[in-house]
């Protein structure tokens, strides 16, 4: 018996073991954008937790921000004949083939958190533009519809940056006396945004009433720079995501508000829909938007 045939035997036995297991439990394959991201990590945790309660087997893989890798992962889910797939897409266009392939194989697929060009069987997430609208409305309310605003953008060209910019500008258009003095990228990064804010303090100084940062990290950087310049009390800062650090800062009265994206619910709802689809049950709505919450402290 040569090595090849030993492998063949092992493989067959292995597959038999797999398919036996499959009979008593549903298997859901999950491909996540990046486990290095705190928010994505929270969504994955929620899926895993709800999977335990629902007694289904969850296989979670990390696409490490590569849509190519993500498509390959979905292909391997298809060949393992999972009962349903949850996809947290890396990219709008490039992750689309993953959705198409699953549908060709007649395996239900649910997108969570962000969308793809090809329409999946169900989508669970939040509208990024909506979060920016909420943040901007808070600012507009605080300055009573009149004042100068600075916007710190995420990584230019990414879906989240584009959507949040669109949402913010929609609100600005409503208030003619709200003036966007400048908008620059802080690349989602605390240190970069801190430097940016320091530069802006030099050029705009006392003319600024509010700052909108497209994520919490950048909001915290701006707050730090404003505090060092001792003008934080005069400037209202709002950011998005609701990470732990930001909520703590809101509690301490530094950051003024953060818009919380509900990771827990995105995870648990996407799994609920995936299970329903795997059991061939009818779902009432194929697009499920989880509302944001405003956090302004305890």
């Amino acid at each position: 018996m040569n090595i090849k045939s030993v492998f063949a035997v092992l493989l067959t036995v292995g597959c038999m073991a797999c398919s036996e297991k499959k009979n008593d439990k549903l298997v859901i394959g999950v491909s996540m954008l990046s486990m290095q991201n705190e928010f994505i990590q929270q969504v994955a945790d929620a899926i895993e937790k709800s999977g335990k309660t629902a007694e289904v087997e969850i296989i979670i893989v990390d696409a490490e921000r590569s849509s190519l890798k993500q498509v390959e992962q979905v292909e391997s889910f298809i060949s393992q004949q999972v009962d349903a797939i949850i996809l947290n897409p890396c990219e709008f266009e490039a992750s689309s083939p993953a959705v198409e392939k699953a549908q060709q194989a007649k395996i239900p697929i649910v997108n969570v958190n962000s969308s793809t060009k090809s329409k999946p069987d169900a989508f669970v997430g939040s509208d990024d533009a909506e979060s920016a609208k909420m943040a901007m409305e808070l600012i507009a309310k605080h300055v009573q519809g009149k004042g100068n605003i600075l916007m710190i953008q995420g990584y230019m060209g990414q879906a989240a940056q584009l959507d949040r910019e669109r949402g913010a500008k929609a609100v600005l258009a409503k208030y003619p006396d709200l003036k966007l003095l400048a908008s620059q990228t802080g690349e989602w990064d605390r240190a970069k945004s801190m430097s940016l804010m320091e530069n802006w303090i030099q050029s705009y100084g006392n003319d600024v009433q509010a700052v909108f940062a497209q994520n919490d990290e950048m909001g915290m950087g701006a707050v730090q720079a404003l505090m060092d310049a001792k003008i934080k009390p005069k400037v209202y800062v709002v950011s998005i995501d609701g990470i732990q650090d930001a909520r703590k800062s809101v509690d301490q009265g530094f950051l003024n508000a953060t818009i919380i994206q509900n990771a827990e619910k995105q995870g648990s709802e996407s799994l609920r829909l995936a299970i329903a689809l795997a059991k061939k049950q009818k779902i009432s709505q194929s697009t499920m938007l989880i509302p944001f919450e405003i956090y302004m402290g305890k």
């Binding site: 705190e38 953008q153 400048a182 240190a191 801190m194 430097s195 030099q202 730090q224």
Partner: protein
């Protein structure tokens, strides 16, 4: 006067720096103020310290791509050690610097023992370092740090922000090491002609390891400063910092082929990048254009420098 100026190896970049300063002064009255100049120096301090360290590596003919990751690891380590009242701050700093030096030594040993090009070795440690930083911090920012750490990052002594004092201190130390010590001469000798240096009795391997340790030390110092400045330990801090630091070194006239280079040049290179970043924010150039302009100016500066070197001959 003209002669001295032309003779200086950093003449080209100096002219370029003066040029961008004049340009921004003309474009906005907010640029050439004592306050803004202090902001610029404060902002470039982290990049400057990284760049000083890697100048030695590049002069010796090597490269260190792991700087940004080493900075992140050390930033996380110092944050963990200085969480509310855990250890005295001095102990936290010391241990963090040791971590940086050891990681640098690892780079050096692998380069020397395996003869794998430093580009590949440090590319590997860059990924390892990033992973370690995420592991140590669980992928989350570490906050609630010792209050004194914040003073280090954002306080002043006699009106001068503390990071600027670190910048000046590191500059003086590196300048002395490179120009006044035997070690400095050996680094240049190895970068100029490794074989010749070896034949004339320079312990090439040992010097190379020291060089990477030095780079690790300054990466750790930069990590401490960055953590102090943003008042949190960030596993994702310093992404791409190695490129900014290396760019500053090259703009400052250090040869990519090794053998030649100055700390003053590196400082001018760092200031050049810092001034452009600050100036573009002040005059509010669109975020897309900023990157295009930044890249264009960097290429222009290096071309200017080359023209200068020709003029000298």
């Amino acid at each position: 006067m003209k002669k001295i100026f032309l003779k200086s190896p950093t003449g080209g970049i100096f002219v370029a720096l003066v040029f961008v300063c004049l340009l921004f002064s003309g474009l906005t009255s907010k640029f050439f103020t004592p306050m803004n100049l202090s902001v610029i120096l404060n902002q470039v301090s982290v990049n400057a310290i990284l760049a000083f360290g890697v100048t030695f590596v590049i002069i010796s003919g090597g490269i260190d791509l792991s700087l940004g990751s080493l900075l992140a690891v050390c930033g996380v380590v110092v944050a963990l050690l200085s969480q509310q009242g855990e250890f005295p701050l001095a102990f936290a700093f010391l241990l963090t610097l040791v971590v940086g030096v050891l990681m640098g030594a690892f780079n050096g040993f692998v380069v020397v023992l395996t003869k794998v090009p430093p580009f590949i070795v440090t590319l590997g440690t860059m990924t390892i370092g990033r992973g370690l930083a995420l592991l140590l911090s669980n992928g989350r920012p570490i906050s609630d740090l010792n209050e004194s750490l914040n003073v280090l990052g954002n306080g002043t002594v006699g009106g001068i922000p503390i990071p600027i004092l670190f910048l000046i201190g590191s500059f003086i130390i590196c300048q002395i090491i490179l120009t006044k010590t035997v070690f400095g001469r050996y680094v240049k000798a190895i970068g100029g002609n490794e074989m010749a240096a070896f034949v004339s009795g320079v312990r090439v391997n040992r010097i190379k390891i020291y060089v990477y340790m030095l780079s690790g030390f300054f990466a750790a110092l930069a990590g401490i400063l960055l953590t102090a400045r943003i008042n949190t330990g960030q596993p994702n801090a310093g992404l791409g910092f190695e490129l900014d630091a290396i760019a500053a070194v090259i703009i400052g006239g250090t040869s990519t082929r090794g053998g030649k280079g100055t700390i003053t040049g590196t400082l001018l290179g760092v200031l050049f990048i810092g001034v452009i970043n600050n100036g573009l924010d002040l005059i509010n150039v669109s975020a897309y254009w900023q990157q295009v302009i930044m890249g264009g100016i960097i290429i222009l500066a290096v071309v200017l420098d080359l023209v200068y070197q020709k003029l000298k001959k």
